[in-house]
């Protein structure tokens, strides 16, 4: 894991634009995300939140602008730096993308196997992070046997297993009841308190009010306020 200073900047997007061939993407986005910060990206469906996440994860390449993650610049990545870039990120997908051909522990362990530079074994890290999200007792279960809230916890565990600098969570509470949603938000808050910058895309910012997050609003591919 890369050492960072308290309140230091971990992610910087400067005037980033991306346009799909047939629809609008994002236009001139500029934000800075600090270590340990809980940030909400609020907007309606199609406002550009997911596109922004894909740009940060390098699933999409910006048409213009620059994204800086720690000391890496997205426009200057080459060779193994792409993998290093992604190891700094933990991603919780809106559709979770858990693999149903393996159990909970194996799902988390798969992501852990991708980071070979950490001193502890992949299995030990997977167990530790499952314990942290309260899912260690169901590590042998298949994801299909879990409730939506439990699946969300496993997805968070998988995103955290490589100790990322930034956790991206796309609509993590959208399909959850109020109680489960509070539990997930509590976990995300804990993650931020441990120093990971947490960037949450949501259209339900009111559920996060208790933790006083930073809120950025997006509409029509543009950032309205931050």
């Amino acid at each position: 894991m890369v050492e960072t200073h308290e309140n230091s900047e971990v992610l910087d997007m400067l005037n980033v634009s991306y346009h799909y061939p047939n629809r609008k993407g994002v236009n001139g986005i500029s934000i800075k995300v600090m270590k340990g910060e809980l940030t909400l990206l609020v907007g309606r469906t199609g406002s550009g939140k997911t596109t922004m996440y894909k740009l940060i994860a390098r699933e999409l390449v910006p048409d213009s602008g620059e994204i800086t993650l720690m000391n890496l610049k997205s426009s200057k990545l080459k060779g193994r730096e792409f993998a290093v870039w992604r190891r700094h990120l933990g991603i919780v997908f809106q559709d979770l993308r858990l693999l149903t051909d393996r159990n909970v522990l194996e799902n988390v362990r798969l992501a852990a196997e991708c980071e070979t530079r950490l001193p502890t074994s992949a299995k030990a890290r997977a167990l530790r992070v499952l314990n942290r999200v309260g899912m260690a007792h169901k590590m042998k279960d298949s994801p299909s046997e879990l409730s939506t809230g439990e699946q969300q916890r496993v997805a968070i565990a998988r995103a955290l297993v490589n100790e990322p600098l930034v956790l991206l969570a796309d609509e993590p509470v959208s399909n959850l009841d109020a109680e489960t949603s509070s539990e997930i938000i509590e976990i995300l808050n804990q993650v931020s308190l441990f120093g990971t910058a947490v960037l949450v895309a949501t259209h339900q910012p009111e559920r996060f009010e208790k933790y006083n997050p930073r809120i950025m609003r997006m509409d029509n591919g543009t950032l309205l306020a931050s």
Binding site: R97, R102, E113, C114
Partner: protein
């Protein structure tokens, strides 16, 4: 990295599909054909050298050629390329051979012995028999004391043609099966990649290298090759046992080829799967 590729590849291998079974089947058939071709080659070569040992060139000498000239000519022919032995047949020897062959004494039949002296020439094992025999016979017929040269050129030419045709048919069969098994391997690996797109995504977005994403599919190809190699080895061993015990053929010289079928199967599987994964995963 290797452990990861092997364990994930094994996970894919366990969920074998119909096309996966076809891949193993075609690979097995290819390897069996290769194994049997090697055995067949050894057997045919042994037949061929046995048959060739029975062929000889006979150079009939001009009437009146004395024995000294014949012996000198014999020494001269012995120096020629591909010649392994020369035997001088006197008129008396020729009469004996006539009696052995036809059961009649030529002196009783004709009252005299008109059979010419001759030299019987045998050749070494040759790479291209028919052509070499023809050339050697032609060279010998050019010597002054030689009246006529006889040998079974037609049979040798037919034998050569048969070997060439057999080689072409077997070679085409092996090549055809190889193409089919490679096609099936490509299809299986592509199908597996399509089915595991989410796995590749997770590995990729978790910071895994491209090799980590491709490795399991390369290992999958290796497992297919290993299974086919083991099956082919079993079949070839069985055929080999049949050849030795039932037919009494000596194929002991090709023992070293049989385990290498496993190595060949694994190599084909890994190479083809690696290439396919390289092409497909680049696009994801």
């Amino acid at each position: 990295m290797i452990r990861f590729a092997l364990s994930e590849g094994w996970r894919n291998f366990r969920n074998i599909s119909i096309i996966g079974l076809l891949t193993i089947g075609s690979m097995t058939l290819t390897l069996v054909l290769i194994g049997l071709t090697v055995h067949g080659y050894v057997i045919v070569e042994s037949w061929r050298s046995g048959l060739q040992g029975r062929f000889e060139i006979e150079a009939f000498l001009l009437p009146g050629t004395d024995s000294t000239v014949a012996m000198n000519l014999s020494d001269h022919i012995l120096q020629m390329e591909h010649v392994s032995g020369v035997e001088f047949i006197s008129q008396l020897d020729a009469a004996k051979r006539f009696k052995e062959e036809f059961g009649e004494d030529i002196l009783d039949l004709l009252g005299q012995n008109p059979l010419p002296k001759s030299l019987v020439i045998s050749l070494t094992e040759l790479a291209d028999p028919a052509i070499t025999w023809e050339k050697t016979a032609l060279d010998i017929s050019g010597f002054d004391s030689v009246d006529e040269v006889a040998y079974d050129g037609e049979i040798l030419a037919k034998m050569d043609k048969f070997y060439q045709s057999a080689g072409l048919i077997v070679g085409s069969g092996v090549l055809g099966m190889l193409i089919i098994s490679i096609t099936f391997t490509i299809m299986t690996v592509m199908g597996s990649i399509r089915a595991k797109e989410r796995f590749i995504q997770i590995v990729s977005l978790s910071g895994g290298s491209r090799m980590m994403a491709r490795g399991p599919f390369v290992a999958l190809g290796g497992y297919y090759g290993l299974t086919a190699g083991l099956a082919a080895t079993g079949i070839v061993y069985l055929v080999r046992w049949f050849l030795i015990v039932v037919w009494g053929e000596d194929v002991s010289g090709v023992t070293i080829w049989i385990p290498s079928l496993i190595a060949l199967g694994v190599s084909i599987g890994i190479f083809v799967a690696g290439w396919t994964a390289g092409q497909r995963i680049k696009q994801i």
